[in-house]
Structures are given as C-alpha cells and as structure tokens.
Symmetry: C2
Subunit: 184 residues, 2 copies
C-alpha cells in the first residue's frame, strides 16, 4: 500500500510516536542503505522536535546512523507485520532489505537516508546529541521534516510485547472536555 | 478495581512498557506524596532494567523525584481514563492526588515512593543516571522491583495521542513462528 502524504509540523509528531508503535529506521552511509525494526524510543521535546531511541551496537544500522548522523523513522501499519518481523530478524550484513522486502526507497528532503514509501509516515532525523551513545546506545534525534499520510486519520499500528507478540492499536476515545485548555 | 499481584522479573517489564502506554508516576519526599501522568518514556536496557523518561520541571513531581531519587511507575488500565486525565490536569501543589482521586497508596518494597494499588502493575525505580536531567529533564531509572497483576494477561491500556485523545490497546497477534530463536 502507498499513501498520499502531506507535511506535518514537526512539533506534532508526538501524535504518532507517543502511543508507542514499532517503527522502521532507515539509514544510508557510503552508498549502502539499511532498515531496522525499533521499539525503544520516546518523544523528548516538542520544539525542537526531539526523539530519543536505543539502537544496539549489534545492529548493522548502528554504524550507518553513527557515521552519517542521520536516519529516517518510518511508521509501518499493522498490515505490514510480516515485513516488520522479517526486517527485525535479518541483518543488513546479509540482505539488501529494500530489495528483499519489496520496499521503495524514496529521496528525503533534508537527509541522505531514504524514506520507506510504503509506510504511513516518515520522520527525517538529524543527530542532536551523541552524549549517551557510548554508554547506552541512546541516540537523541531532532526531527527536521515530517511526511504523514493524508488519510486515514488513525493508522492501525503495531506495538511490540516481546516473545514474538504484538498488540494492534484499537479504538480512539476522547476526553478533551476534561482537559484544561493549556494542557491541550 | 484491585488486582492480585505477583512479582515479575525486572528484565521482563518491556512487555508492559514497550507498547507505549500512559503511566502514572508516584513519588514521595519529605512526608509529601504525589502522582503525575506520563507518556514520554522508553525501555533502555533489559539488565540492568533501565527506563528513561521525561519529567518536565513544571511538574510538582519533578522536585519530589529529583530529591528522593526514587519513583514508582504504575500502569493504569483503560477503565481508569478519567482518573488518568484528572491526575494530568491537576497539580500536587493544590491537591492531594491519592485522596482526591480515591487511590490507595501502598508501601513499596525497595523505595519510599508509594505504589498505586488500583493500577495493573507497579515498577519500583531508583535513579540510575542523572546526567541528562538538567539539559532535557530526562531521568534514567533502574527498575528494582516489579509487581504485576496475575490476570488478565493482556491489560487494556491507554496510549496518548495528544489533543485529549487516547488510543485504547486492541487485539494481540503472534508472529512467533517467524522469529529467529535468538530474537525471542
């Protein structure tokens, strides 16, 4: 599936990352691209738009993102679960993941890492702070550009439970009327 | 609702935090307790069991967790949504949140911060690394004890979308057969 995408102000990406979905991280360095599956990330700030994540040193992507200081965080939907699992269970040392999984690499606007066209959203990231990479494999990214599908409003996302199991996102409920205006 | 709880090995808490739920952080310092609602957290390591999270300096809880170097991360279920929103829209400066929201403070085993009895799970945390608190309000916690409801296996959790809206966790699917044994 492919989506028509629109720009989203980068301070609004929390809508898609705060609920905790599994994401795909795409990267490029020295003519090579790769994709990894990632579940350990958090929003850290609205402005600048910061995201922190763990990329373990055992991942082939670790060296690509560390060298290039860039990546794209892509949001897959639940229909892509077998691709998500396949990407997480292969290594870029052995496999060209774009080709192997039939995914389309698109040019990003502000980074050299490619967007994954088939994903619902793509967040272009530049390394904002490297201070915890050596100690924790923790990268702090600034999201510099966000591409999001124009529809549907609520994508069905995957949330990893460990042990090969995923929670699929369910219904949306509003409690807007209970919020203080300054909390919205 | 209250649950019968059992101990969970602390390296297994990813099952509950990696899917990205809204959590309640309870704290205690100098005879005062407080609770805040939090959505910006990530698992960082299995062993030691590390969780990183943003607690903004504007929260009354900030000083309590900073001084005590402890907290409890509590996992509320979807039936508690109005309590979760209420806690997020009031301040411990004005309100005793345990009393106001009818929640029960229970003694923890290894920290002075109280457990919230009505929550599905309670993770006792000690501050592991303060190096990013000043720059990002980012706390790195070690989970030293985990209490989890014996049933149900899959709690219905809340995932914040911003703008007063929540996603409620949906069905669980397994792709275990597609995983390499060393990835499980």
């Amino acid at each position: 599936m492919t989506y028509r995408k629109v720009d989203l102000p980068v301070h609004e990406i929390r809508r898609f990352l705060e609920p905790g979905p599994i994401v795909l991280v795409s990267s490029a360095s020295r003519g090579e691209t790769n994709i990894m599956t990632m579940g350990w990330q958090t929003v850290m700030e609205f402005t600048p738009s910061l995201v922190g994540c763990i990329i373990a040193g055992s991942n082939h992507s670790f060296q690509l993102v560390r060298r290039s200081k860039e990546c794209v965080i892509n949001l897959p939907t639940a229909d892509m679960v077998d691709t998500v699992v396949g990407i997480g269970n292969t290594s870029g040392r052995d496999v060209d993941k774009f080709r192997h999984f039939g995914l389309t690499a698109e040019m990003a606007d502000q980074v050299k890492a490619p967007l994954i066209r088939e994903c619902y959203a793509n967040f272009e990231c530049k390394l904002a702070d490297a201070c915890l990479i050596d100690k924790y494999n923790f990268f702090i990214w600034e999201v510099v550009k966000a591409h999001v599908a124009a529809a549907p409003k609520h994508p069905e996302t995957l949330h990893y439970l460990g042990h090969g199991e995923f929670m699929v996102s369910g219904k949306t409920i509003s409690r807007r009327s209970l919020f203080r205006p300054d909390m919205l």
